[in-house]
Symmetry: C2
Subunit: 155 residues, 2 copies
């Protein structure tokens, strides 16, 4: 029955989520990072130095929370606060040397991880996997942030 296959696939996905999550958390902890802090770092990586308010918007958390995250990242030397060139109220969060190196190392590590994960997987299977994941992602994106009444069960 087709339903069983779907359940099966969903189970796989749920297990994947757990495993990746754990692995991520563990690996970040080794670097003295946490998930939220890393999200911030990635935002910075994508957009360059930015004021905290923009980070708050991008990460969808309150300004106060960003202050806390930046505090932590600053304390461990990944980012530093710089004066905003034109708005003296604002603070520009920028990478330190170390922060930049760390993020680059993470990108590199990610590449290695991808290679490890998909090693010896034939190209067509990889394509098909990508296509399938793409479909699923579209559906998931559709029911994520805005709506509130629509969805129902997940795990």
């Amino acid at each position: 029955m087709i339903g069983d296959r779907r359940i099966n696939a969903l189970d796989q996905i749920l297990e994947l989520v757990v495993l990746i999550n754990d692995d991520m958390t563990r690996s970040l902890a080794r670097d003295g990072l946490t998930v939220s802090r890393t999200h911030l770092l990635w935002e910075l990586r994508r957009h360059g130095p930015m004021p905290q308010r923009d980070l708050a918007a991008a990460l969808r958390v309150s300004a106060r929370t960003v202050t806390g995250l930046v505090d932590g990242l600053e304390a461990t030397g990944f980012v530093s606060r710089q004066p905003h060139p034109t708005d003296r109220r604002a603070t520009l969060v920028t990478f330190t040397e170390r922060g930049l190196r760390t993020v680059e190392a993470m990108e590199h590590g990610q590449r290695e991880f991808a290679d490890l994960l998909f090693a010896q997987m034939p190209a067509e299977r990889l394509d098909c996997l990508t296509a399938g994941l793409g479909e699923i992602l579209n559906r998931l994106r559709g029911l994520d942030p805005a709506r509130q009444q629509p969805s129902e069960g997940d795990r």
Copy 2:
């Protein structure tokens, strides 16, 4: 280049992890549950009433943590503590009526979720997705709990 495809696929997986995680957390919160508490519930569902020490082993957390989780689940009426029939030191954690109903509803919701996620996906793509995920899961399982020096980067 093949590496790019892999990075791509990994990015998809990472996004999937985030989306599913958020969705799960939100949906569980609606039921008055958290992820850890739900893990415990699932363990109970799989193995039936069990003493806390077994839960601790199954969930790989300390006994103290289990006490806390069970406290929470008991307070919200999902489980209850029963005396162990033969070992009077031990406590059997069992579902309440409500807990059982909730877990069954979650299973049902999961089925619906799977249908939603894979709706209109041709069978062969589903198969291929499953196969690909299976491969990845095997690799991930391999580097999860025991080893400590081996892996490297993830997100």
